[in-house]
Amino acid sequence: MTDATTTLAPAPVARRSHATLGRLVRAELRWIYRRPRTLVVLGLLAAIPVIVGIALTFVGSAGPGGGGGDGASLLATAAGNALVLPIATLAMALNLLLPLSAAMSGSDALAGETAHGTLRGWLLAPVSRGRLLLVKSLGVATFALSAVLVMAATGVLTGFVLNGTDGLVTLSGSTLSLPAALLKVAIAAGWVALQLWAIGAVALAISAWTEHPMVVLASVLGGVIVFSVLQLLDALEWLHPFLLNDSWLALGDVLRDPMPTGGLAEGALRAACYIVIALSIAYAKLSTKDG
């Protein structure tokens, strides 16, 4: 124990009533990316395009007629096409793995921190509830974006390694220049990130209601499954436009030339609506929640 008087002398520090947003976000990001779990998930996501690319090249295409989901048929054309591989693997991962990653991030952000008793530390500092939600949202959004970018990047690199920079052929049979192909991958990645932000926002909203991270993960997993099943039921067609995954098939449109924008724009708007709803509910809960 050291001398008390030195540390207890009144500090000549600006009498701010809150820490700067940038500092909080930096601390949040450091926390996210120092977490072993985060790195493991990013590593696994990065490995998917590599595995798929190698499998398609050396094992051969999945075979015609196997018209399963969107990802499967996109992948049928991915073998010889370095442009298709990143986008097809993103489309495939969007069905389950990427949503779960976003949900994990959202569950750690509030429920996990509450469970560890660490949220209290920031609330007492104090960080206002509104800023807390803002910082947490930015953290989840950054993680989701990094997950998508990591997949896109390894997808592009795997494509280059396996097939070189030639043969960047769209579904419409046109051949793209390298920058044009990278632009398409970037558009796809950005759009997938937006969908993940919507899922992350929903996860944050659930996260604000519970202190059990597993509840958040289970809810999002359940939601993804239920939404996919609902999409299959033609009798519920009126409901489909309200489901986030209604326009997920539109991701394949990025690979068409010229690119039809209708489905993508609709999907982006839908994601934005989900973000508005989820964040407003998250704010309402967090601002009245006991710390």
């Binding site: 008087t5 540390t7 600006a14 701010r16 909080l24 007492l124 500092a125 006991d290």
Partner: protein, 329 residues
């Protein structure tokens, strides 16, 4: 909740509080319901500035809930809180930067080291300039004796080390008030002594300290003021010394002839009894001068007369157990 109604009846020594002193924190009519369960009811707590207030109470008496409401973590169902002159929780943002707190045990991330955990906590401290953070963290770690283990993962810390890290979090910034909820939980005797030292250092520097505990010896050793909670209500509060005296006012009289003294007092209708250390005179109905006068008048030799001090333990037992006994009868 039959005990809560009887408990309010026991608020006998309430007048001991000194309203003249400036208050660092004050609650009025504080009440918190969780569903239908009354966690805290009618809590009027005064924390004088510069005091070390020990909040005593058995587990479940509402200590932590009161502290959480005081810090704006929990919104009271009814009542008001004022912390360092600011209404809480409405303006908690103005008060909290000057308040350090360790509530409900230490909360840290297991995969980060002690230092990284504190760095993360410090990032949110308004009173710390960004450049000063590493220094402040280093100093706080030093202060609680964790400097050597600072770079080890929190996961591997012992219970005592975790508690110390929590304490370091409360001391990151020079504070006007420090709130410690069960700070010695899990600490060995040496650790407990260190916490006492820290509290007295804070006290010496003029910092108001609110420390909750169920360990009476700890409170008696470190506190200037005491508030006793029982079943969600404050049953007694005030300066420690006054409370101890008011607990059972009595005068101890040393004399050569105890029997004569007893007779003289009985004649003056002053209740008394023989105790090992002398004659114990009940002061509920009379004052010490009256007692001395009665004895001297009767020609009894009075060698020494002094106030009898009850231990905190006696007081605490009386305040918190009586209602149960009444219930039982």
């Amino acid at each position: 909740m039959s005990t809560s109604t009887t408990a309010t009846d026991v608020v006998a020594p309430e007048g001991a509080a000194t309203p003249a002193a400036a208050l660092a924190a004050q609650t009025r009519g504080l009440r918190k319901l969780y569903g239908r369960t009354v966690a805290v009811d009618h809590v009027d707590l005064d924390v004088p500035e510069g005091a070390v207030l020990g909040m005593l109470g058995p587990n479940g008496s509402g200590k932590t809930t009161t502290i959480r409401m005081l810090l704006g973590l929990v919104r009271p169902t009814a009542g008001t809180v004022s912390l360092l002159g600011h209404a809480v929780p409405e303006h908690a943002g103005h008060a909290l930067p000057d308040v350090g707190a360790l509530v409900e045990g230490p909360g840290f991330h297991p995969f980060l080291s002690g230092r990284e955990n504190l760095l993360r906590m410090a990032a949110a401290e308004p009173r710390l300039a960004t450049g000063d953070i590493p220094h402040a963290v280093g100093e706080a770690l030093e202060r609680v004796g964790l400097a050597a283990a600072a770079n080890r993962r929190y996961r591997g810390y012992s219970l005592g080390m975790k508690q110390r890290l929590g304490l370091a979090g409360a001391l990151l910034v020079p504070r006007r008030m420090v709130v410690l909820d069960e700070p010695t939980n899990g600490l060995d005797p040496a650790g407990t002594r260190e916490v006492r030292t820290i509290i007295s250092e804070l006290h010496a520097a003029g910092v108001t300290v609110l420390v909750s505990s169920h360990l009476l010896a700890e409170v008696e050793a470190t506190c200037t003021h005491v508030a006793v909670l029982h079943a969600g209500s404050v049953v007694a509060q005030g300066e420690l010394a006054e409370l101890l005296e008011s607990g059972s006012p009595a005068l101890l009289v040393s004399t050569t002839d105890g029997t004569a003294a007893m007779e003289a007092l009985r004649a003056s209708r002053i209740p008394s009894r023989l105790a090992p250390e002398g004659v114990r005179v009940d002061l509920t109905a009379c004052t010490p001068p009256e007692v001395i006068a009665a004895l001297v008048h009767a020609g009894v030799d009075v060698h020494e007369a002094r106030r009898a001090r009850t231990g905190l333990e006696d007081l605490f037992a009386r305040l918190t157990q009586e209602p149960d006994e009444e219930d039982g009868s």
